[in-house]
Symmetry: C2
Subunit: 125 residues, 2 copies
């Protein structure tokens, strides 16, 4: 009962599943691998854009691209427990991770992640 | 006499020399050439930095470099008559233009430009 007020204070995350230590470890591994892949993709893209610079406007396009990618990556990769199902839902929706990689998580997390991915893919459609 | 209040309103630029049409045309040519050289230098530097990216931190260094160069160039290249002697003083101090290129300007402008360059080089020392 003493939990009630604390739970209310954490709204809207009161329904987030609790992550066990091993689930957290798996989550961290998948999270880091996805982040690494995404950053490698930005590196490749930035090198290609830089190679193709022929005029000053291209410089500021590269600056804007990097700035947007940095902010977007900062926003999407949030390892707090209260955000993890949403984070993985987004990555799944974007096909940056596969369900296969998440094998080992409890069915409660998988269900929340799939549900989040589904909502996002419907929003994007 | 009716000029007095208008002149006071333009402080601290009330002592700026008046630029003739031919001086303005020369100034524009020198200004544009210096800006072009500086932008070409940023392009070369950005391409080199991009080529050397090996890790994510390098991406954000490139972003910061581009952002700082853009703001610095925007700030320094100001073609308003009231700023021109200061702008050319800065470019002369930075050795981005030569006195030779400015040949054709009246001695009043040359004196103001040299004086501005001298102050800036003393500040930088």
């Amino acid at each position: 009962m003493s939990d009630t007020s604390a739970t209310q204070n954490t709204y809207p995350y009161q329904n987030e599943p609790r992550w066990s230590r091993s689930e957290k470890a798996l989550a961290r591994k998948v999270f880091d691998a996805a982040l690494k892949r995404e950053l490698q993709q930005v590196i490749r893209e930035a090198k290609q854009m830089a190679n193709q610079i022929t005029e000053p406007a291209n410089l500021w396009e590269l600056e804007r691209y990097l700035s947007e990618r940095r902010k977007d990556i900062d926003r999407r990769y949030d390892f707090r427990s209260s955000r993890l199902t949403r984070v993985f839902g987004t990555l799944l929706c974007e096909r940056r991770i596969s369900e296969e990689e998440l094998r080992g998580l409890g069915e409660d997390k998988m269900k929340a992640i799939r549900s989040s991915a589904k909502v996002l893919s419907e929003d994007a459609a």
